[in-house]
């Protein structure tokens, strides 16, 4: 490239000019997209493969039927419609919470409070369902989900407002709020919401019209997953195709820059957290309305934590979140089938999950390194 003197002294126009020499043309454009996608998925794929290989090594050590065990881990999920439905139901909360996390992380807020937001969302949905038993189904479902949204968003609002007002570290606040939210919901379920008939710590059963209908053909899967699925393209559009999304990401990467170009950074941070909490709240509501039909005290096997890794493994991309949450769900449910069919102990699964989480993150920062990426811990 030779240097040519710039002669333009006229002001740059605002209308988009025809693409310059390096402008994209039809076929190269799609090739570029494909390459881009490949580049973005190959490292996570490598992590997954690595985890599976390591996991297999461990299964090899502890099981006399390692192949059978591993087959169960994946194949059993698809062997019957019921199992497939279970898979979808397992991924729904992960998907919803992780989508929310994508928004908060993209806005530069490290919301680790998915678990707590999930719990308050679930308890609010349950309380609403119990308080308004007379409402017709669609209305009641809407009210319950709305309650979950509000509760989750409110809980997320606390760290957001503390962060923008005084710069209080949101990681610790959201972690602490998880403990508080779980204790608070356990108080509710042991007292005002308690089902006196039940032997466990559960709320009363929600009226039947509030139960989410099943997906046709999948007796164990309900439309909660469909809701989550529809939110994927919506989140993608919002994040990558709207001005608001661009503003949010600007605030997340450089708040002072965002402020300078007129982005209302604080507002975007709060909004992203509200959205994040709301989605976790929806996950709680979907669980209550779709799976539990009541609030159970210990209903979450740390969905919030797993969703965090789902979001990061997906490189904070909604489409990636969909794939990753399905993968995790397959792992978690497959582990149960593995336990049923073989003598591989259940604890191996938590071990593998930890390993997976660790290995997955290896790639996450790679992309953040370009430019002066601010570290999470900064």
């Amino acid at each position: 490239m030779t240097t040519t003197p710039t002669t333009s002294t006229t002001g740059p126009g605002l209308a988009p000019k025809p693409p310059g020499p390096q402008g994209p043309a039809g076929p190269t454009e799609s090739a570029r997209r494909i390459r881009e996608i490949w580049v973005s998925v190959r490292k996570p794929l490598f992590s997954v493969a690595l985890t599976l290989v390591l996991g297999f090594g461990i299964v090899l050590l502890v099981s006399d039927q390692p192949l059978h065990a591993y087959e169960q881990l994946f194949v059993a999920n698809f062997s019957t419609p019921a199992n497939f439905g279970n898979l979808l139901m397992r991924s729904a909360p992960l998907l919803l919470i992780a989508l929310g996390i994508v928004f908060s992380f993209r806005a530069g807020v490290f919301n680790v409070g998915g678990e707590g937001q999930l719990y308050v969302g679930a308890v609010a949905a349950a309380a609403t369902g119990l308080a308004l038993p007379g409402l017709p189904g669609p209305l009641l479902i809407t009210a319950c989900v709305a309650a979950g949204v509000v509760a989750g968003a409110l809980l997320a609002w606390i760290p957001a407002i503390l962060k923008v007002t005084w710069g209080v570290d949101e990681v610790v606040i959201t972690l602490m709020l998880n403990f508080i939210a779980i204790l608070f919901t356990s108080y509710l379920v042991a007292n005002p919401l308690r089902d006196p008939e039940a032997y466990g710590a559960t709320s009363r059963m929600l009226p039947e019209q509030s139960w989410l209908p099943a997906i046709p053909g999948l007796p164990t899967g309900n439309i909660g997953f469909v809701i989550a699925l529809l939110l994927v393209p919506a989140a993608w559009l919002l994040l990558f195709r709207t001005v608001w999304g661009a503003d949010l990401r600007a605030a997340g990467t450089n708040l002072r820059f965002a402020e300078t170009v007129g982005v209302r950074g604080r507002r975007e941070i709060i909004l992203s957290m509200l959205l994040s909490g709301a989605l976790a709240g929806v996950a709680g509501a979907v669980y209550v309305l779709g799976t539990g039909h009541r609030f159970e005290q210990n209903f979450s096997p740390e969905f919030g934590l797993i969703a965090l890794t789902v979001a990061l493994l997906a490189r904070l991309h909604p489409v990636g979140v969909l794939l990753t949450s399905l993968f995790y769900a397959a792992m978690l449910n497959g582990a149960a089938y593995m336990q049923i069919a073989t003598n591989v102990p259940r604890s191996l699964v938590s071990l593998l999950t930890g390993l997976l989480v660790l290995l997955m993150t290896v790639e996450v920062r790679r992309r953040r390194r370009r430019g002066q990426a601010k570290e999470v811990s900064a």
Partner: protein, 541 residues
């Protein structure tokens, strides 16, 4: 050591190559530095100067090539190794730890020890004190670096580099952040080092400095040396030509007749605007000024005298505690940055990585930020990606943003090209008011020239420009009128025709010659500027 015969190369580089992924930062670089000389390095932004110097101190490892120090081939594997070879460096961006003291910073990474385990702080303090004294720097070894002014920090950097008898001292753009007075002092320091027999490698974009202090100059272009010359008898334009491969237009003085804007209605009007910091100290003190459409008002001043606050007060990034900001007659005093931008304000901030850009986001998104709707990139509520890419490509071509594709993360561009992205974005708004702070800091002459042209062109289209620069030549070259900031006050506003560097320099320092200003500066400022301030006050009220 000091008595090395001149002419013997103390440092020789042969065929140095360094790539960052696909990017070739240094191609095949040769360089020879003679013992005891001051050797300047010039080149466009991104030419590879800093990278080369970082190789010399072992921060980067070259992909290939040979480094010879005092005739012996060496592998430099880190700053400690470089220090052993007598090479010290003052980086382009300061490498000091603000929470530590001057002494602690000087001995960071190589503290003298006590009982093998503890750092011997007393020894550090004493030795630092001696060093500071030896080089004549009046600094307190116990002061926290974070509390020092920029010029003082740089001295700490220099002492740090020299602390271990560095024979070769590398200074990477040391003058970019200094005031004219500080630059002069630095030149003296460099001359003093040469007298002590040190070799100095000195990177700068300012050709005047090359002429002033260097014995020889090497020009780098695209990672290659394009030649080394004696500065004796060398014309600045010749260096510039070597750097950019063409002759450059050096903005001189703006040719506007005095009073050309008299009588025109003010576009921007500040009415006794004040800002306070949390301690209640006024950082901006009843500043009154007006700028008319097409007019460029330059603000000169030593950094830290309220220029940043002024820019931020005008753009809404800082809350004002008194006075009014009027744009085209509209009171915007309590408007948010967003509202002010919508009202026609554009802002090129002083620190592009801080406020100007989001390094991780793509060039296209940095160009698009705040312009999406304006530039017609939003279709049915969505940002059209093809339109955005086309728009970005257009700006890249038009502003000659080197090394950029629409998808390139902005953070990987060189400083000058980053600056062009900011300028392109802000000018695309066709602003009524353009606030520009330090537009060419660290920017090479080619790019500086370009940015200057753009600012002039904007003014030509009727934009009112508030230009803040600590670079007197820049202010003089572009402004119609020039104001001087001192301790938060606008102490003097004069027509450019009446301005000279000396006069401005005096006003900037409060006419006492004391860079930090003293209690008596108000009176002194008044004596040199009563006419200017008087008219300005009148115009404002």
């Amino acid at each position: 050591m000091d008595s090395t015969t001149t002419g013997a190369p103390v440092l020789r580089l042969r065929g140095i190559r360094k790539t960052f992924g696909p990017k070739v930062a240094i191609d095949a670089m040769d360089l020879e530095v003679t013992a005891g000389e001051v050797h300047a390095l010039c080149g466009e932004n991104g030419a590879g100067k800093s990278t080369l110097m970082n190789i010399l101190v072992g921060i980067h490892q070259p992909d290939s090539g040979e480094i010879t120090v005092r005739g012996r081939p060496e592998r430099i594997d880190g700053p400690a190794g470089a220090s052993r070879l007598g090479i010290g460096m003052v980086h382009q961006h300061f490498t000091l730890v603000p929470s530590m003291t001057v002494a602690e910073n000087i001995y960071l990474g190589r503290q003298p020890r006590r009982w093998g385990l503890l750092a011997d702080r007393r020894a550090m303090r004493r030795a630092a004190g001696e060093l500071l004294e030896r080089y004549g720097f009046p600094l307190d070894p116990d002061q926290k670096v974070g509390e020092l002014a920029v010029g003082q920090r740089q001295r700490v950097e220099i002492v740090k580099a020299l602390a271990f008898d560095a024979e070769i001292l590398i200074l990477d753009e040391p003058t970019a952040v200094l005031t004219p007075a500080e630059v002069d002092e630095l030149m003296d320091v460099i001359a003093g080092l040469r007298e002590r027999g040190r070799t100095v490698l000195f990177i700068t974009h300012k050709l005047r400095e090359v002429k002033a202090v260097a014995d020889r100059v090497t020009v780098i272009r695209h990672g290659l040396s394009v030649g080394t010359r004696d500065t004796e008898g060398l014309a600045e334009s010749e260096i510039a030509g070597l750097m950019v491969g063409r002759s450059v237009f050096m903005a001189d003085r703006r040719q506007t007749t005095a009073g050309a804007f008299d009588g025109a209605p003010a576009l921007l009007e500040l009415d006794a605007v004040s800002c306070e910091n949390a301690e209640g100290r006024r950082t901006l003190d009843e500043v009154a000024l007006t700028i008319r459409p097409g007019e460029i008002l330059g603000i000169a001043g030593i950094e830290g005298n309220g220029q940043t606050e002024l820019a931020e007060a005008v753009t809404g990034l800082r809350r004002v505690t008194g006075g009014r900001v009027l744009l085209d007659g509209r009171d915007l005093t309590s408007a948010t940055p967003r509202e002010r931008r919508e009202a026609g304000t554009a802002f090129i901030p002083e620190d592009r990585l801080d406020r100007g850009l989001s390094p991780e986001m793509s060039v296209a998104e940095n160009l698009g930020a705040s312009n999406y709707r304006r530039a017609g990139l939003v279709r049915r509520g969505m940002v059209s990606q093809s339109a955005l890419r086309a728009y970005a490509s257009g700006r890249i071509t038009e502003f000659d943003i080197r090394g950029a594709q629409p998808d390139t993360p902005v953070g990987t561009l060189s400083g000058g090209n980053m600056q062009k992205v900011v300028v392109a974005r802000e000018l695309a708004r066709e602003p009524a008011l353009l606030v520009v702070a330090q537009p060419t800091r660290g920017v090479d002459i080619g790019a500086s020239e370009f940015v200057h042209r753009q600012i002039l062109a904007a003014a030509g289209r009727g934009t009112a420009v508030l230009l803040i620069s600590s670079e007197l030549s820049e202010v003089l070259a572009l402004s119609d009128r020039i104001g001087v900031m001192l301790q938060g006050r606008l102490v003097e506003v004069i027509d450019t025709a009446e301005a000279t560097e000396t006069r401005l320099g005096l006003a900037m320092s409060g006419a006492t010659g004391d860079g930090t200003g003293g209690p008596g500066t108000d009176d002194a400022g008044g004596t040199t500027s009563h006419a200017g301030t008087g008219t300005e006050r009148k115009a404002a009220s």
